[in-house]
């Protein structure tokens, strides 16, 4: 079993949910988070700020600003991981910095509380 943690844009949640359903994932959970990445900036804006345009400088903002994001967590079988990752990438990709990151982590066990089933049976 694998845990897939994706940090995506807030306004992409509907597309992400749809893509997950199409990839065969019914169960997942999500919460709001704030984050920052490597901190890429538009080179034109940076140049403008360097030349002393106040408007451009205000666009840059302060260093290390956190942006609102959604964090989506999916636990799934090993063989579905690639499909799910590709589905999330396709749904969320705009090609601009800030699209988000996907992490894949190993999960040692899971339990369905209602029945007490463990392992892969509990996440189908």
């Amino acid at each position: 079993m694998k845990e897939i943690i994706a940090v995506v844009r807030m306004n992409m949640m509907n597309q992400t949910k749809k893509a997950l359903t199409e990839a065969g994932i019914d169960a997942f959970f999500a919460h709001e988070a704030q984050g920052r990445g490597k901190g890429f900036v538009n080179p034109d804006v940076l140049k403008g700020a360097g030349l002393g345009y106040e408007e451009a400088a205000s666009l840059l903002g302060e260093k290390g600003k956190l942006y609102p994001k959604r964090m989506v967590t999916v636990v799934t079988r090993d063989d579905l991981v690639d499909d799910v990752v590709q589905a999330i990438i396709e749904a969320n990709r705009t090609g601009k910095p800030g699209d988000g990151k996907i992490f894949v982590l190993p999960i040692s066990d899971s339990v369905r509380v209602r029945t007490g089933e463990t392992g892969e049976k509990s996440i189908v």
Binding site: G35, K69, I102, L105
Partner: protein
């Protein structure tokens, strides 16, 4: 090999830790609010016990080689006073098998991300 570092810290310390990580060259962090308790079973003030204390969770995925440095940076900044106090938080480390950047669709490896300037 990359690792995920999850730090549960005091909310009032989160700005300081974020600034310290930025200066240390680890800008990429995700933060969210959580509530929890630790070994002390919450805080007892008078007759009232608070067992859901607000905390902030910071999540950062870094190269395994940077592990000790990042943990040290978080620990030093998040600690209250030099000795530390109950409630300063915990840091958890777990393995991350794959990392994908959505904007490029590229599967990142530790070797590739080492060359990227922070």
């Amino acid at each position: 090999m990359m690792i995920m570092i999850r730090a549960i810290i005091r909310p009032e310390k989160s700005d300081a830790v974020l600034a310290a990580l930025m200066d240390a060259g680890f800008p990429a962090v995700t933060k969210y609010s959580v509530a929890g308790r630790g070994k002390q079973r919450g805080i007892k003030i008078g007759e009232v016990t608070y067992d859901e204390i607000p905390k902030t969770m910071l999540v950062s995925v870094v190269n395994a080689a940077d592990r000790d440095f990042v943990i040290d940076t978080i620990m030093k900044t998040a600690r209250t006073s030099s000795k530390g106090a109950f409630g300063d938080g915990k840091i958890f480390v777990s393995e991350v098998e794959d990392v994908y950047t959505i904007s490029s669709g590229v599967k990142e490896t530790a070797a590739a991300s080492e060359g990227v300037p922070a």
